[in-house]
Structures are given as structure tokens and as C-alpha cells.
């Protein structure tokens, strides 16, 4: 257990990644890049889980990471299918152009 990375650093990295993802999600208008930002956010959360699991010497953190991996895979398949359909129907990937559900 020499030369371990302090858990605070890992959590800080995860928070930075998460913030980057959020900002990317909010400022990007391309749906594909919004999906990429979502992936970054998911992986930031996964990293936080793994770090916490290592800190408490418990397997739960890695289990949660596997769950997030599965959810992310499902999310990406649905998201890409939606993106494909949106492009076919509207001939654009600009999220702001799609406001047909405006109240």
C-alpha cells in the first residue's frame, strides 16, 4: 500500500470531470456531443464510486461501477437510436431546433 493516490484527489478529479460533463451538456447544441458529455458525467460518477470503494475496502464501489457501465451501455443505445431518428425526421442534430413540444 505504498504510493497510494489520496482519495481526496480522486474525488476532486471525479468532481471536475462531472462539472465538465454538465457544462458540456448545457453548452453543446449537437446531440451527439451532448451524449458524449453524458458519458463523461456517468464515468465521473463511476470513478467516485470506485475511489470510495477503495477507501473503505468494500466491493460495493466496484459493483456500482458495473451497474453504471450497464446503464451507460443501455443509455447510449437508446440515445443513439433517438439521435438517428431525429436526424432522419428533422435533418438536423441541433437540440435547440427541436422545440415542437413547446407549451
Amino acid at each position: 500500500m505504498t504510493a497510494t493516490v489520496p482519495v481526496e484527489h480522486v474525488i476532486a478529479l471525479a468532481a471536475a470531470l462531472f462539472a465538465l460533463g454538465v457544462v458540456g451538456l448545457l453548452v453543446r447544441r449537437n446531440i451527439m456531443l451532448m451524449l458524449v458529455s453524458l458519458e463523461i458525467m456517468l464515468n465521473a460518477a463511476g470513478l467516485a464510486f470506485v475511489a470510495a470503494g477503495a477507501r473503505w475496502q468494500a466491493p460495493d464501489g466496484q459493483v456500482m461501477f458495473l451497474v453504471i457501465l450497464t446503464v451507460a451501455a443501455a443509455e447510449v443505445s437508446v440515445g443513439l437510436a433517438l439521435a438517428l431518428q431525429i436526424y432522419r425526421r428533422f435533418k438536423t442534430l441541433d437540440a435547440d431546433a427541436l422545440d415542437e413540444m413547446r407549451g
Partner: protein, 631 residues
């Protein structure tokens, strides 16, 4: 077989259920088979029950069948029971037998209609309700049937609802009869309040025992029952709905507005005659209403131009005769006239339907003419029906039934001769308008191309016409005055229901009265021939403006519609318009405005932009986290 009596109303109701649920899937043949078959089977049940009933000893020809308890709430127990005696037997035989013929006729008459199955569903529901009305052993069940036939009448008058005029006629019929229905309901409440029961037989015995003749309650109850009967039977002053009810298909007019439903008032008074005998003044009023109605409707029938409206006013007039008979206590005579009238008036309406169909749905008699040559069969059956209506002597049923009523009216002490004179004048009018109708429709030259190219009906129309024509002649021989051999089948059969039938006039007086009525009938026919026959005396007579004004007044039914519009409809509409903007409406209006304002506010957040939603979620998450950390 009597135990199967419950099948009589059940079969048509079952037919209704089948047609209502699966009518569209049955196809036309299937729907017709169910609609006609259910009523036909019901007629078989009714006839078989009648045969069995007549095998009982004469004074105990009553059969009661308690099916189940309808409801039992806080001491109010109403059984669901049927009561068959000779009075209800006469009614159910007419309803099912004539009803069956009219259903058969409808198969051809309605053949091209888009709502074929719906028509038969309504007709079956009507027959079922009508049978329930006449078979009920208590007044509440009777009231159920009473409202059932009223609803069916509404549905069938407005059957061709795409025309707003038909819809208005249906509403008018429903609302005007409702006035009478409300009175009937109040009569029911009074009876229950005092006797704690609605069983008709028990009410009759107890009312006779407990209420003095002419006591206040007896008079009120009888008057309210009379109001109910007047509404349903289209008598003065509630007669205005029946002529408009002709907006319905012709078989409906034949079944509901001639043969059966409109005589429900006659049945009600005959059924509760014990109550009317406790209020002699009201009973005299029944006769007076009948006499006034038969005259008024007779005059109105003279001026109509629509073939069905002539017959409608004639129906009002003939029911006036029945009321006249009920008023003088001659219940059997009233029922006998109902019996014969059901045959000949159904025949006339079905004949009119055949004429209307042949002339491509033309109802104005002045657009017809000369149909005798194109439709000989319809002409002859129509002539038989018309003869019975006019009381053509010796060979028609109408002659015997009207003779009986007039004889009984003459023998009535006090107002008798006056009532008799009204009836005799009515007979003159009847002969006059019947001959006028036949002359204009069937004689002369065709006035339009449609009339000239009229096509003869098929056998589904001719068979009911033939059977009803036979009935319009043969039923009269059930009851003949003494000077003609004296058959009294009908009166004797009803003896067990109406034990006290007043004595008629002596045989020689009766013969003289009949001779006079015969002379009046012939005079009417001759006068009509002079007016409307080849001589065409009428156009010259009508040339004066006064005569034209009278004719127009009669055509409008003596201005009753205008009167009621001024007295009731206009003030009501005025009041409704006045109440349209009242203060109470502000409360719901304010609630709606507040909800609308919030809606507009919340709507702002629904931009439809997914990045906006994400930003809001992030902001929400930050807010919640901040709260969690800082607390």
C-alpha cells in the same frame, strides 16, 4: 300457458337487447327476423294466455303472477308483478297482434334506411314497455311502462334526427306529455300517502271503502290521474304534440300514435275507474274533455293538407270518443272503440304509408290524386279503413263501436243528450274529413308526375293491410246492438272487470239513434262529395276571405300552438335569457379565470428545449445539495 305470461313483455325486451348490442352485426335479414320474430312470438304467448284465461270461470278470469320484489326500502315494498284480466288481455292482444303486423310492414317500409336495426330495437323496446304498462299489477310498474313508452315515442319521432324539425317535434312531444306525467306522479304520491300501497286492486277496494264520494282527496286524485291520461292520449288541452309527432316514420305513427300508446290514457282511466267513480264531477269532466276534443280535432282534420296530419287529428278525435264513453261510465264501450280503432286506424296509417312510399315520400294530399288506378289494393283497404272510421253502417267495426258509445251517452242522466249531440256532430265531421281525404288522394286526376308514376307496394306491405282490413270489418261483429241480433261477446268478456256497466237506451230508442247516426254518416259523405268531388264546390266556397281565414285557423289546430308559445314558451325563454348573466355564474367563472392564469404561467416553463430542461435539473440538484450541506 298462463305461467308463461312473463314471456310476453320479456321477448320484445330481449329482442331490443339483442338488436341494441349486436344489431349492426346481424345484417338486415337478421335484424328484421329478431325484430319481427320477438313481437310475433309475444303475440302467440298473448293469444295462448287469452285462450287459457277464458277457460276459467267467468267471474274469476284473473291471473296474477308475482315475479320478484322490485325494491324494498324502509317499508316501501314494490313487487314486480303481472296482472292479467280481460281488460289487460284486450290490450295485450291488440298491442302484440297489431304490433306484429306493423313490424312486418316496417321491414319493407324501412328497407332502405341506414339505421334499420336501430329502428327495430326502438320498436321492440316500445312493445315491451307498452306490455309492461298494461300488465302491471301496481301503479309504479305501470308508471315505469308509461315512461318507457314515452321515451320510445321521443326516440322514434326523432328517428330521422338529421332534420332539426323532426328533433323539435320529438322534444315537443316529450315535454308536453311530461306535463301530464308530472300530474300522474303526484296522484301516485297521494295514493301511497293514504293507502301505503300501489297495488291497483287493493287501492280500488280500499279507496271505495275509505273515501266518501266527492271527498276532496278523491276529487284531486281523479283529476290528477285525468291530467296524466290527457297528456298521454293527446286530449284537450295537451293535444298539441300529436300532429307534430307525425314527423316520425309512418309505422311509428301507426303503432305508437294511433293504435297503442296514445290509448294508454284510456287504459289508465279504465284501470282506475273505481277512483273516478268516487269523483263524479271529474268523471263528467272526462266526458266533457272527450266531447270538446272530438269536435275540435274533427274541425282541424277538415283543413289539413298533410295526409298523416289528417289521420293524427282523426286519432285525437276518436280518442275523444273513448274519453266520452269513459266519462259516462261506459268503460266496455270505450275499450271496444279502442279495440276497433286500433285495427282501422293502424290500417289507415299503413295505407297512408304505402301511398307516401308510392309517391316518393310526398305527404301533401294535393300533390297526389288519381291513385285509385295506380294502387287499387291500397285504395280498397284504405276505403275499408275509412269506412270504419266514418262509421259506415252495418259492415264496419267503427259503426258498432261508435253506436255503442253514442247510445250510452244518450242514456246518461243529466248531460247525456248534450254529449250525444257532440258525438253525433263529431260523426258528421268524421264522415266529412274521411271522404275528403279519400276523394283528394285516390280520385280525380294525378296532380304531379310522382303521383302519376306511383308504384304498387310489395307483399310485406299488402299482407298487413289485408289482415287489418279484415280486422276492421270483423271485430265489429263481436258486439252488436239488440235490434241486430244482439251479440255481446266483448261486453260480457269485460264484465268481470267493470261490474257496473250502465244500462243503454231501450232497443227501439237505440235503433232510432243508429238510424240517425247512419243518416249523419251518409250526409257527411254526400256533403264531402259535393265539396271535393267532381263538382269542386269548395274552391268557390273558400273564395271569401272569412272562409279562408277559418280554414287557416283550423289547419293550425285552433291556434293552440300560438297560444302556448305566447303563454309558456316565450316567457320561459325570456326568463332563461334574463338568468343567463346572473351573479352566481361569477364564482365558477372566476375559478376558471384563475386556473387559466396559472396555466399561462406554468406554460412558460415548457419551452420544448431539452438543454433548458437539463439546466433546470442541474439548478434543482445544486439547490437541494446546497440545502443539505448548509443545514
Amino acid at each position: 300457458m298462463l305461467d308463461l305470461l312473463w314471456l310476453a313483455p320479456t321477448l320484445p325486451l330481449l329482442g331490443f337487447a339483442v338488436l341494441a348490442l349486436a344489431g349492426a352485426r346481424l345484417g338486415r335479414t337478421g335484424a328484421a327476423a329478431v325484430g319481427v320474430g320477438s313481437v310475433g312470438l309475444s303475440a302467440v304467448v298473448a293469444l295462448a294466455a287469452g285462450v287459457e284465461l277464458f277457460q276459467l270461470p267467468e267471474l274469476s278470469r284473473v291471473f296474477t303472477q308475482k315475479l320478484w320484489t322490485w325494491f324494498d326500502v324502509a317499508g316501501l315494498v314494490v313487487p314486480f308483478g303481472l296482472h292479467l284480466d280481460t281488460l289487460s288481455l284486450a290490450m295485450i292482444v291488440v298491442i302484440t297482434f297489431v304490433g306484429f303486423l306493423i313490424h312486418l310492414y316496417s321491414v319493407e317500409y324501412m328497407a332502405g334506411d341506414e339505421s334499420f336495426a336501430k329502428f327495430f330495437a326502438y320498436m321492440n323496446l316500445f312493445v315491451g314497455s307498452m306490455l309492461l304498462l298494461v300488465l302491471a299489477d301496481n301503479l309504479l310498474l305501470l308508471y315505469l311502462g308509461w315512461e318507457g313508452v314515452g321515451a320510445c315515442s321521443y326516440l322514434l319521432i326523432g328517428f330521422w334526427w338529421r332534420d332539426p324539425a323532426n328533433d323539435a317535434a320529438a322534444r315537443k312531444a316529450f315535454i308536453v306529455t311530461r306535463v301530464g306525467d308530472a300530474a300522474l306522479a303526484i296522484a301516485l304520491f297521494i295514493l301511497y300517502r293514504h293507502f301505503g300501497t300501489w297495488q291497483i286492486q287493493e287501492l280500488a277496494t280500499r279507496a271505495t271503502a275509505e273515501w266518501a264520494v266527492g271527498s276532496r282527496l278523491a276529487v284531486w286524485t281523479a283529476a290528477l290521474l285525468l291530467a296524466g291520461a290527457v297528456g298521454k292520449s293527446a286530449q284537450l288541452p295537451l293535444q298539441t304534440w300529436l300532429p307534430d309527432a307525425m314527423a316520425g316514420p309512418t309505422p311509428v305513427s301507426a303503432l305508437i300514435h294511433a293504435a297503442t300508446m296514445v290509448t294508454a290514457g284510456v287504459y289508465l282511466i279504465a284501470r282506475t275507474h273505481a277512483l273516478f267513480e268516487l269523483a263524479p264531477d271529474v268523471q263528467l269532466l272526462v266526458a266533457a274533455v272527450g266531447a270538446a276534443t272530438l269536435l275540435l280535432a274533427g274541425f282541424a282534420a277538415l283543413a289539413q293538407t298533410d295526409i298523416k296530419r289528417v289521420l293524427a287529428y282523426s286519432t285525437i278525435s276518436q280518442i275523444g270518443y273513448m274519453f266520452l264513453a269513459l266519462g259516462v261510465g261506459a268503460y266496455s264501450a270505450a275499450l271496444f272503440h279502442f279495440f276497433t280503432h286500433a285495427f282501422f286506424k293502424a290500417l289507415l296509417f299503413l295505407g297512408a304509408g304505402a301511398v307516401i312510399l308510392a309517391c316518393h315520400h310526398e305527404q301533401n294530399i294535393f300533390q297526389m290524386g288519381g291513385l285509385r288506378r295506380r294502387l287499387p289494393f291500397v285504395f280498397w283497404t284504405f276505403a275499408i279503413g275509412g269506412g270504419a272510421l266514418a262509421g259506415f253502417p252495418l259492415v264496419t267495426a267503427g259503426f258498432y263501436s261508435k253506436e255503442w258509445i253514442l247510445g250510452q251517452a244518450w242514456a246518461f242522466p243529466g248531460a247525456g243528450p248534450a254529449l250525444w249531440a257532440a258525438g253525433l256532430a263529431g260523426a258528421l265531421l268524421t264522415a266529412l274529413y274521411t271522404t275528403r281525404l279519400i276523394l283528394i288522394v285516390f280520385f280525380g286526376e294525378p296532380r304531379t308526375p310522382a303521383a302519376a308514376s306511383a308504384h304498387a307496394p310489395g307483399w310485406l306491405i299488402t299482407i298487413p293491410l289485408a289482415v287489418l282490413a279484415v280486422g276492421s270489418v270483423a271485430t265489429g261483429f263481436l258486439e252488436m246492438p239488440e235490434w241486430l241480433g244482439g251479440a255481446s261477446t266483448f261486453g260480457n268478456a269485460l264484465f268481470s272487470v267493470f261490474s257496473k256497466t250502465p244500462d243503454g237506451p231501450a232497443a227501439d230508442t237505440e235503433m232510432a239513434l243508429a238510424a240517425l247516426a247512419t243518416a249523419v254518416c251518409f250526409a257527411g259523405i254526400a256533403f264531402a262529395y259535393w265539396l271535393y268531388g267532381p263538382g269542386q264546390a269548395l274552391p268557390r266556397a273558400l273564395a271569401s276571405p272569412a272562409a279562408a281565414a277559418v280554414a287557416s285557423f283550423w289547419r293550425g289546430g285552433w291556434g293552440f300552438d300560438t297560444l302556448y308559445r305566447t303563454l309558456f314558451v316565450r316567457p320561459f325563454v325570456w326568463l332563461a335569457a334574463l338568468n343567463r348573466a346572473d351573479a352566481v355564474d361569477l364564482i365558477p367563472a372566476a375559478l376558471a379565470a384563475i386556473a387559466g392564469a396559472f396555466h399561462r404561467l406554468v406554460r412558460l416553463s415548457q419551452t420544448g428545449r431539452v438543454r433548458w430542461y437539463a439546466a433546470v435539473i442541474v439548478a434543482g440538484a445544486i439547490a437541494i445539495l446546497t440545502l443539505a450541506v448548509w443545514r
